[in-house]
Symmetry: C2
Amino acid sequence: MTDQSKFLPQGFRAAAVACGVKRDPSLLDLTMIVSDRPASAAGVFTQNRVAAAPVQVSRTRVPAAAVRAIVANSGNANACTGDGGLADARRMAELAAARVGCPPEAVLVCSTGVIGQRLPMANIERGIAHAAQNLAAEPATLEQAARGIMTTDTVHKMTTRTAELAGRTVRLAGVAKGAAMIGPNMATMLAFLLTDAAVACDALQDVLRRAVDESFNMIGVEGHTSTNDTVLALANGAAGATIAGEELAAFGRLATDVCTELAQAIVADGEGAKHLITIEVEGLRTRAEARAVAKAVADSPLVKTAIYGADPNWGRIVSAAGYCGVDFAERNLSLWLNGTLLYDHGAPAAFDAAAVSRRLRDQRDVHMRLKFDLGPAACRFWTCDMTEQYIKLNADYHT
Amino acid sequence: MTDQSKFLPQGFRAAAVACGVKRDPSLLDLTMIVSDRPASAAGVFTQNRVAAAPVQVSRTRVPAAAVRAIVANSGNANACTGDGGLADARRMAELAAARVGCPPEAVLVCSTGVIGQRLPMANIERGIAHAAQNLAAEPATLEQAARGIMTTDTVHKMTTRTAELAGRTVRLAGVAKGAAMIGPNMATMLAFLLTDAAVACDALQDVLRRAVDESFNMIGVEGHTSTNDTVLALANGAAGATIAGEELAAFGRLATDVCTELAQAIVADGEGAKHLITIEVEGLRTRAEARAVAKAVADSPLVKTAIYGADPNWGRIVSAAGYCGVDFAERNLSLWLNGTLLYDHGAPAAFDAAAVSRRLRDQRDVHMRLKFDLGPAACRFWTCDMTEQYIKLNADYHT
């Protein structure tokens, strides 16, 4: 990563302030990101039937051609808060819009944190005013924007890319937060992608949906889908490059790349995790089948504890594949762990268990490959192991 | 439970021996149950695509009109063992059949334990010979039969019922094992129901399927379906009572009752568990919807760790319901925990959190009630909490 990583793409400013939504008054808990000009905007949201108020508000506002700002708080999810919460989310956007000087509909709103408590609106109002001042005086770095949305994250998550597209240098920056699908009741995975390329909002929505499908939809910490998951993309065109036609594919790869790096960072920061596990599944009839296998393996506490225990326990992996609803016979499946063949067309393979265990113990990265012989479809999925620390974090936290 | 619980129903004998399948030579690891006369038999088996060899053998043999014996070993699951394992499972039934004096097809076979290792057939052969001697000399109690199938179980699981049916006293006894859907790679939940009533095998199969659907299919420790799950029922008619017509319903309730008690005993013995959690879901359009909600709540590590931490964290429960695929709006749902209303038609209810937490801490039994207003369907589901001990047991165990 270069020095540029400190900076937002052209025409974006950000501010992150501490306004007392979190109990610790020294922690940043409100981020504003503003585009100086109207930006195309796209969004992908949680599929949970219990969707937080800001999700209900923001998802009606994208795709859109002229969005000016994102306002996001951490520490309170504004979820399960009824009509009052919905009014709060709308008000949060209005307050930001008044400072930016744009219609309320041109502001997207996000929240992450505790479920079931009303937002402290006086703090939010103070925070937005303070952030607006900072935007004018000393715009924040990308890192501060990333820190403003952290909850149980132990590290902030951000990445940037530059590319030559449409004859110009365009930049794409991404920030994200998340340490569990729901952390210790501190809900949510949030991510914001910002680019100074110009991309029509429908094309941007398409790019974002594909990128999310390969990245944030392919991770799991414990399989518990949050009420607040939101990924937003803003493209403001400040770089003077309009991405359309064939160059959309290249831009799409860039966006997928950024989303994948952020998604991996979320899993690597999974609560209490000691290992980042990459699961590659190949040779199934459809990608949905491949994903079902990967997700069943990733979500199994028995697989996750085996990796934590450095145990090459292929039986747990194979049997998780067996109950995910995908039709196969044992002979259709072979399994490699960190490059070692453990299970060969339905039969145990001979392998040096001590060596495989040692490698699991010594390396943070774990690679599982499940190879079927039933078709051309494949996928990659990321998860983490499960440790006593995960239990402790989630049992000791109190609402 | 009365003194009768020591005894099997009329016309059944059992033996349990230690034959060295388990590493500790003092532990029982082979159980034989023999009916003196041909018995109706029924069975329900794992839905895992990776089904152990004994499952593949036994499921072709039921329902049947003339079964004489069940032979089951613990310590080795005979799963993922290919054609050799299939031959071993058939051989195990043959060896038992030779001792009993019946065709091999009249013997049902089960295994539970480590996945992916071939059965030590010399030990199994010795064990069956020894068990057959004991059957003649000093038949085992129900408790010994239950102990012979234990793996990571901390207690044996058994129960009995008597009822007046068809003008006679009939007895129904059940034994089970299981401490996780898969324990530390010691696969499986097994249960055997034995009755001295006469029930035609098709009727028995129907009774068993309904009973399993209300009991063993309504429990989860961590949601990982085993390769070896098997529930068998034998009805030998030794009591002289033939159950048919309207009395089948009463017999079915008896069987459901026995299965439910055994299922709860499995969950209560869940690895590392401190709480037995009963989840009641009501007011949905179909029972399948009610079960999907209950299972999502039961399988969520965030719900399970909250209960362990004595935290009345209704947000985790409500959001788990939200991602299970069942269509509802927040206002359709209310939630009670141990009788206290926490969430009322989509909005947080006011409650004494300290009192609810204290009760969670002090009581082993936890009751969750999720009430929807969308229809007449309901279900009950049982699970346990998740503790550091679960992680420890499953991480420290090595294949």
